[in-house]
């Protein structure tokens, strides 16, 4: 259990949110040109990092907006929250 600072609503309990998985996975520009390996990479393969991870979250029981988050998955500490389309504030 941890608190998340929604960029639109402010600090709320994590149970109000839905995790959307790894962020910044770019949708293929030419889907018809993709090989099976590239599809697998896009659809299924994940970094699943232990440590600093960039991820998407949705405030599903609040404003219902998507946003990005940087979180240390080894201890659930949130490092930064930023809006969709923005550059990550930390590397």
């Amino acid at each position: 259990m941890f608190l998340i600072n929604c960029p639109f609503c402010g600090e709320r309990e994590q149970s109000e949110f839905k995790a959307g998985g790894e962020a910044h996975i770019v949708r293929p520009k030419q889907p018809t040109e993709l090989s099976d390996d590239e599809w697998a990479e896009y659809l299924f393969m994940r970094k699943n990092i232990k440590g600093i991870q960039f991820e998407r979250w949705n405030h599903v029981h609040g404003c219902r907006k998507w946003f990005n988050m940087v979180r240390d998955t080894s201890n659930d500490q949130i490092k930064a929250v930023y809006k969709m389309g923005e550059k990550p504030p930390i590397k």
């Binding site: 259990m1 994590q14 149970s15 839905k18 995790a19 998985g21 790894e22 099976d36 390996d37 599809w39 697998a40 990479e41 659809l43 299924f44 393969m45 994940r46 970094k47 699943n48 990092i49 232990k50 991870q53 991820e55 979250w57 998955t73 080894s74 201890n75 659930d76």
Partner: protein
């Protein structure tokens, strides 16, 4: 040769106040080189080493474990064993394991306390009823025992269930696999460790893997906190940390690691003599031999390695438990914990070779790996020794995410993932 555990060894050791029992396994330092190294000393890893030594005559092998053996998910699961999976590939895999469970205590000369007390899965809506009936038929076609029970039969089999039709999710029926049940999780790890140690396997604890050394597309060994170990074959059975090891080798896996929680109550007299699971409301419960209710909750939906999990998950599970079993309303919970489970997109495991020669992965067991321990070890050992999968784990290769030939047990298995 180890002394056999028996009534006679028990009596003999009683005379020396049980102070002279032989150590069940040694505590060796790693050698410079092994024919194969298993990464991860949980039930699956130890079973893999045991079957490599026993069935494939590979004696110069080691199991490296970052903590102590059986201290990860082997010691954190809810010990349920069943094989009533929908798809043929899964049914073959899990029933192979169940058949080994049935003779495991005798084979290992170690009481794993396997108890075939039955597992009942409940249906709470019409779609559940259809799905469970379909699964029952599929199970029987695969030679797996399964019966469908109506509400009265559910009540008869487990009288403390609230079968009132007025509750939020009324019990409309259920399935029962009588050969299913539970086992003592620690004993499984210890039994396999003792068996493997006897055949010469080195079980090296407090030895964390820090890197995988490759020469092009071939593995050369592993860097550990106890130094470099040279080997041509590495079998990774690291559960929630599989992706961490894969990243060391420059591989990506289709896994997400999430907390899965469980809890036990204070011990009480025998009240529930079977295992009851409910897919729709996600609550399952059994009773340990000590008398504690063992309750399994769900996974959190975010990636985490923190072994904690959120309170609302536990709350949701206990809400469901209380509605199904009003008799538990004043029970107090003793302990709650989380384990990190590695979940595949199709909720089926991976027991497979990889694109790197000599590197094998056994992962993706998600929320249901304990039941498969003996079968998983047996098939993974076969895959490592022959560099080819056994026919029972051929479908569980890593390439299924490229070919699209998934084993989609999400929601089709007897419990929610």
């Amino acid at each position: 040769m180890k002394n056999k555990y028996s009534i006679f060894s028990l009596i003999k050791n009683a005379f020396s106040y049980h102070e002279n029992w032989e150590k069940a396994w040694k505590d060796p330092e790693p050698k410079k080189e092994y024919d194969a190294v298993i990464v991860g000393g949980g039930g699956h890893g130890l079973a893999t080493a045991y079957y490599l030594a026993k069935k494939h005559n590979m004696k110069n092998i080691a199991v490296v474990e970052k903590g102590w053996i059986g201290g990860g998910n082997t010691g954190r699961n809810t010990t349920i064993i069943r094989s009533n999976y929908l798809w043929d590939a899964s049914a073959g895999l899990y029933d192979h394991a169940l058949k080994i469970w049935e003779g495991l205590s005798q084979e290992l000369n170690y009481n794993v306390m396997f108890s075939q007390r039955g597992v009942m899965n409940l249906a709470h809506n019409l779609q559940d009823v259809r799905d469970l009936k379909r699964r029952t038929h599929a199970n029987r076609l695969n030679g797996i025992d399964a019966v469908y029970l109506n509400t009265e039969e559910v009540k008869k089999f487990c009288p403390i269930i609230n079968t009132s039709q007025d509750i939020r999710y009324p019990v409309l029926g259920g399935t029962l696999q009588r050969r299913a049940g539970t086992a003592r999780h620690d004993a499984v790890a210890w039994g396999y460790a003792r068996g493997a140690d006897e055949m010469g396997v080195d079980i090296i604890q407090n030895c964390e893997v820090k890197g995988i050394k490759r020469n092009g597309d071939t593995v050369e060994g592993i860097e550990t906190t106890k130094g470099f170990i040279k080997t041509k074959k590495i079998g990774v059975v690291a559960a929630g940390h599989s992706s961490v090891i894969a990243n060391m080798a420059g591989l990506k896996l289709p896994l997400e690691s999430k907390p899965l929680q469980a809890l036990v109550s204070e011990p009480v007299k025998p009240i529930i003599d079977t295992v009851v699971m409910s897919n729709a409301v996600h609550a399952y419960v059994s009773q340990s031999d000590k008398g504690e209710l063992v309750i399994g909750a769900g996974t959190d939906d975010y990636v985490s390695y923190s072994q904690k999990g959120s309170h609302d998950i536990v709350e949701g599970t206990l809400n469901a438990i209380l509605e199904l079993y009003p008799i538990f309303s004043r029970m107090r919970m003793l302990r709650q914990w989380g384990g990190i489970v590695d979940i595949c997109p199709d909720a089926s495991p991976i027991i497979s070779k990889t694109s790197i020669k000599g590197l094998y992965f056994n992962c993706g067991w998600g929320t249901g790996g304990f039941k498969a321990t003996p079968g998983s070890g047996d098939l993974f050992a076969h895959t490592i020794a022959n560099d080819e999968p056994h026919k029972l784990n051929a479908a569980f290769n890593i390439n299924r995410f490229v070919s699209g030939d998934l084993v989609d047990e999400h929601g089709a298995a007897a419990v929610a993932h």
